[in-house]
Symmetry: C2
Subunit: 680 residues, 2 copies
């Protein structure tokens, strides 16, 4: 009836007329307004808080007078007494419409609220979690009309929340009866909505109205480290972050050596699967402890990982990934139960989502980067480089997205470097070398001062991490300590006693801790060679994508990977890790794969999107492309023989030096061997 | 075109015209004729064998001439050379239509063939198994068009067999790649079709065309024994049957004592669940060994059981089943994986189907009996009595089906009987007592002679089993050794020295093995009392259903249960176990619950039917019905005070004796206590 009061919701602008006495929550639901509720309108959960606005709203064509909503009632008073309701707020399930009204739904009352990501991130996460809590009242059993407790719970979920096709795994079934009776036939259930099928699965059940938070883990399962974010499944907030070493390292530092281990040792893949699963269990405990929650409050986990880790997580022998045509056992996204993966620490009935792989060399981690960075939505041509033990590259814009992987090896992570170490307190992470004096200064993790500052003190200096070695090599090149082939000059050639002879080659002494009982940290010719191999592989991958795209430059570059966050774009470009681009268009996206995992954790829509995104990506195979080999060889010099470094030239001038002290610096037998092993 | 040859299939009568050269298999498929094929028409599996008929067929209006089918070809010749093709048979995928033809599809070539059940059974099983084998050719991987092996297998299953929505559990994923490569991209996959949802799950994958048979287990999980039939999933044939004791007996002989154990011992239900699952594992090994197959050829299991066993199998505390309102945790049928139940011996990816429960006292075993015996399809009123430690009763016809359970206790199985034992070689199973001499003769299990026959010899006699004690008590009553209240007379009163005094009561000596170093087997007053309690409970349940149905007699009675097969209807009626009915209308259905399990194992349709069947059954609760108590008390006498025994009177005459030697025989404190405990 047109004489019914008009109800207008902001910020959505949705409006409709409702009979006097209609609860605001009911009006919101009928209009499809995004207003949360866990208790279903019983005045318990307070998730449906709204803020009525009074006065004239010419834009909306209404004037809202006092009395447009029903009086503050006893349920609201009780809630306010116990918990406190912010000023101006009403409970949407209690306040009823009495006259024309404008009702604002604050962000925290929206189910699909947006989570602001950290500084470096552009994209916001719209909350649409697979697992949510619902409070229901279940009919008591009647021996004359027998039906199971689960079946009556399913009826309640359908009647009160419209949720159909309910299933309960056995661990939930085992606790259902006690929860229903303890809660006097009122329970809060955590329901998981599948993204690959339409079934609803009960993950947990709590007596009465359940106040405790529920969590999910976004796990980035890397070759070297396993990193996890613990996210509140309601708000999307990161409650804790933690990481552990991947214990598979004892079976091989890089992916191919793990594949070899599986090939050479019958049952080796079973051993590796068990070890990584145990580590995930440990990580689960660790992160729960850190956040001060119980591990069984973790109801979901999302995994992103490269294809070898993907297979080893699932218990699939990765041997096919070690040889052409690099066939994956399965490429699509998977919905599993934690129990399927023998994960025992999180909730017994926890659900697992594994992102899809793009190809045998480009895994779910790259898919997660694509989900996070959305190259397919970029107007300008963006190159996304996810730097890790294996580097994944994505190049694309709205017209097309290409992907490849490149076997950089672990040098960028400080492994295979003489004084290398993982990024940890005491590791050198930033380096500058004075071009005149050839004297270095550096910063270590956990200390905000440069080594030459007074405040630096006498901290324990333990080694050099990935970002440190990249800066050191680039700085050595800029200071003329290194020539364009990557050779370190002698003390005479460079004019600094820091260049010391080590057999037929030289090393640069970055830090001599002898006086303090500390280590001698040098950059050796071998270190330079390892970095050259890694950066050549990375660069060659990027060039191959650019060839395929038919371009010789990109508009912008995004460095991803936990490590990408710490690389200085300038030094990366001096080194020739990445193609030439305006320095201000090179940015770090932090751990984009981890962010992609978080997005998938917080959004069922994103889980459904990822299949489409992956289908749109064209895979470029580096292992069999002759052009890759050519780019790889050409990329060995610093700077590359093929590069113009036009942009870079505005910032740095590279000295024109050449040290002819023998081999070791050029593209040697090592690199060729590695490429052959991979293409086998 | 009307000039195309006419093809008529028998026995279906389906007909159609097909272009010359059309393979018979193709014609059959297009007409929806039930003609099997595993290899999809590649001439490998020989499942599509047909028998062409030649001559005049006035009924069909055709004359079939030689040459109506293509010539015998090399594929058929090769198959015939290697395997032998029965005379007159052709391979439907090789023989093509050349003229008007009548083609018979022999039973073994029908997917939905009928399996003839054993003598006692009326119903045939129409094969429609959930798990079937499919041979497919999978596209090889292409690194330039990356997709997972599983995804390409799914495409093949869709293209070649029309099977969509394919999922693979991790154990299958782990062996998929090796199978595909070993089979040179041809594999046979075992696909399970869900009955509760529409998904298809790959249960196993074999390289190339797989010849080995696949099996399922139909498991009747009883309180005392666990019995299983191993069925060929293609033919429905029972390859082996085996049984083990339910190890939960150590936690309590009957169901209520197991519920008490769970209540009294924290974690007791976990202990009981583990023990029964371990026993099922053992049984799986045992039955596989017996059939000479590998346990991992068992791809499916179907479970029927009473509610307490149902909950303990699933890992649910049965405590709610021990008290009103006897609420089940879940009542609907369940599809699980063997892994969910920690079953480790059958195939890693084996699927499990658990039949639905009717109510807290009437379980999936009763549902299985209903599936097997179909009371709802009976024109006359049938009472089905499933005798075990707990008796389930179904009463119904096409208008209505009622169900209840009755706490008979384990007396009918020989437990709680002084010389009682399980049915095993050496146990007395049949008894006759001469009304004149009061001398007994008996038969024991494993010996076909009566004890008075010369051929009986001197076997080891160990005790008396359930059917033996029923016959003994009934015969004692008929011989006047027992009065109508159930009291055993003294030697003087009965005129036989076999009646010996035991304190204030008497016992009847059935067998005195002292001379042979054997046992003294007597029927004591306590034994009589135990049988009276059990039979009163059983009878009271049947009467309660008859009250509810508004009848005072039934048209026919079916005795089910492994034990029901051995009960003599005459003795059961003398004892008053079952209501009065014409003796020729009392039959044994054998292990009807086990048969129901087999039906569900062999037919997805039956799995879907069972939900409907269960919904149509009205549950009558004995525990709270005042009428039940009344019937129970009235049923104590032999014969019942309330019974007319009109039919029975034509066969036996019961002596009118009455021994007044004190208490013990009447409905004593024991029975009342048990009923109270149950109604609590």
């Amino acid at each position: 009836m047109s004489t019914d009061p008009l109800v207008i919701f902001t910020p959505s602008g949705k409006r409709g007329r409702f009979a006097k006495g209609t609860p605001v929550l009911t009006a919101a639901r009928q209009l499809g307004v995004d207003l949360d509720s866990v208790c279903g309108g019983r005045g318990i959960c307070s998730k449906c808080q709204v803020a009525p606005s009074y006065g004239e709203f010419p834009k909306h064509g209404v004037t809202v007078r006092e009395g447009a909503l029903s009086e503050w009632n006893s349920v609201e008073q009780r809630y306010d007494d116990i918990r406190g309701l912010p000023k101006g707020r009403r409970l949407g399930c209690q306040a009823t419409v009495q006259g024309d009204i404008v009702v604002d739904v604050p962000p925290e009352s929206q189910v699909h609220r947006q989570v602001v990501r950290k500084a470096a991130s552009l994209r916001q996460i719209v909350m649409d979690p697979a697992t949510k809590l619902y409070f229901v009242h279940v009919t008591e059993p009647d021996m004359h009309e027998p039906s199971g407790d689960l079946e009556r719970l399913a009826v309640a979920l359908k009647d009160e929340w419209g949720i159909e096709d309910i299933h309960a795994p056995l661990p939930v079934l085992a606790k259902l009866q006690k929860a229903l009776r303890k809660g006097n036939w009122e329970v809060t259930v955590a329901v998981h909505r599948g993204s690959l099928d339409t079934r609803h699965r009960i993950v947990d059940v709590f007596p009465g109205f359940h106040e405790a938070r529920i969590f999910g883990l976004a796990i980035d399962l890397g070759s070297t480290t396993i990193a996890a974010h613990l996210c509140d499944l309601r708000t999307g907030e990161v409650a804790a972050s933690a990481g552990v070493m991947n214990p598979q390292i004892r079976f091989g530092e890089d992916l191919m050596s793990r594949v070899s281990y599986a090939m050479m040792n019958p049952g080796g893949e079973v051993e590796m699967t068990a070890s990584v699963r145990a580590a995930i269990d440990d990580l689960t405990d660790q992160i729960a402890t850190e956040a001060g929650i119980e591990a069984d409050q973790i109801l979901e986990a999302v995994f992103v990982c490269n294809p070898v880790m993907h297979h080893l997580l699932l218990g699939v022998d990765p041997v096919e990934l070690g040889q052409a045509p690099f066939a994956l056992a399965t490429s699509d996204a998977m919905e599993l139960q934690a129990r399927d993966l023998d994960l025992t620490r999180m909730n017994d009935a926890a659900q697992v989502f594994v992102l899809p792989c793009i190809a045998g060399h480009v895994g779910a981690d790259a898919a997660a980067v694509a989900l996070s960075e959305e190259p397919g939505k970029s107007e300008d041509l963006v190159l996304i480089v996810d730097v890790g033990t294996n580097a994944e590259l994505l190049l694309g814009n709205t017209t097309r997205v290409l992907a490849c992987s490149s076997p950089t090896g672990p040098a960028f992570e400080g492994a295979q470097i003489s004084s290398g170490q993982r990024a940890a307190p005491g590791a050198i992470e930033r380096v500058e070398i004075d071009p005149e004096t050839k004297e270095p200064r550096f910063r270590i993790i956990g200390n905000e001062h440069w080594s030459t500052d007074e405040g630096f003190g006498h901290p324990r200096i333990t080694g050099i991490c990935g970002s440190g070695i990249i800066e050191a090599v680039a700085e050595m090149r800029m200071a003329g300590i290194l020539d364009d082939k990557g050779l370190i000059g002698s003390a005479e050639q460079t004019g600094t006693p820091r260049c010391v002879a080590t057999g037929r080659t030289h090393a640069y002494v970055l830090y001599d801790g002898a006086r303090f009982g500390g280590p001698l940290i040098t950059v050796t010719q071998g270190d330079i060679r390892a970095i050259q191999l890694a950066k050549s592989a990375l660069y060659a991958g990027a060039r191959l994508l650019m060839d395929e795209m038919g371009v010789d430059r990109v508009d912008r570059i995004t460095l991803a990977g936990a490590f990408g966050a710490h690389i200085s774009p300038k030094h990366a470009m001096v080194l020739g890790m990445i193609p030439d681009a305006p320095l201000d268009r090179v940015r770090s996206a932090g751990n984009a794969a981890g962010t992609g995992a978080r997005i998938a954790l917080c959004s069922v829509t994103a889980r459904r999107d990822i299949a489409r995104i992956v289908r749109q990506i064209t895979k470029v195979e580096t292992a069999v492309a002759p052009k890759f080999q050519e780019h790889f060889v050409n990329a060995n010099a610093i700077p590359h023989a093929t590069d113009k470094f036009t942009e870079l030239a505005q910032i740095v001038t590279l000295p024109d030096v050449s040290f002819n002290t023998g081999g070791g610096g050029s593209m040697g037998e090592d690199g060729r061997r590695r490429r052959r092993a991979r293409a086998k």
